[in-house]
Symmetry: C2
Subunit: 140 residues, 2 copies
């Protein structure tokens, strides 16, 4: 009775939101996606200290050069990193101070509030262990 039937139109919705075109959404998502990988994030963290070439980066991270190169390509494609050739080497650096801040903030933040006991821990893709068929779990 009291609860109205779900009616989106009953809510006040800003027009600016409706204008959110898919391209902007996709563009924004792509940037976040580029940041959403530990390997790439680690690279950015190293670059936050100053420019490094691919070989140095690979050695620092103890990773394959090819792997690092491809990660850098992605970061560059999203304008998070820039490259500059210097002789035989190609040095990579964060695109700008804005990116540097973003990365620093993010790492710091995630470090501070330890996210232990998430409402729903969803590890990197792995169907639940769930040995019992008892599906209902006690909410906390």
């Amino acid at each position: 009775m009291s609860l109205p039937r779900c009616q989106p139109s009953e809510h006040a919705l800003h027009p600016s939101l409706s204008e959110l075109d898919d391209e902007t959404l996709e563009r924004t998502a792509a940037i976040f996606r580029a940041l959403g990988d530990p390997g790439r994030l680690r690279i950015l963290a190293w670059l936050a200290r100053g420019p490094l070439c691919v070989t140095e980066l690979a050695a620092s991270l103890d990773e394959n050069v090819s792997t690092v190169s491809q990660r850098l390509k992605l970061l560059r494609s999203e304008r998070l990193a820039r490259s500059r050739r210097e002789g035989k080497h190609i040095f990579y650096a964060l695109a700008d101070r804005h990116v540097a801040e973003l990365v620093a903030n993010a790492l710091e933040h995630a470090n501070e509030r330890l996210n232990r006991g998430k409402p729903d821990s969803v590890p990197r893709a792995r169907p639940a262990p769930a040995n019992g068929v008892r599906s209902r779990k006690t909410s906390r």
Copy 2:
């Protein structure tokens, strides 16, 4: 001769960076990953206007309820969104003002400087229409 052989050890590296443990990295990446999808981003954008229940959200986005629910689950698991039961409905909202700002900023930013002419266009994640035919099994 001028260019020194690649020697990571020659560079001054902050200890704080070496301490960047994998867990923090992964945690941070997970948050960005959650933001790195247009569908989820769109949800957050709607929620930025105020709380909505799943059905409303689904109707607004013209998406399957199940799909929206699962996206919300992910967002909630990364503490980007919060849920609160109200009778028959479960209302979702942005976790806090911090998230709201982050989303607003990101969208705005990506809207401003049009990233046209990227060095390398990165494909985007667009999952599947999935025809409900259950005749094929993939090894996994």
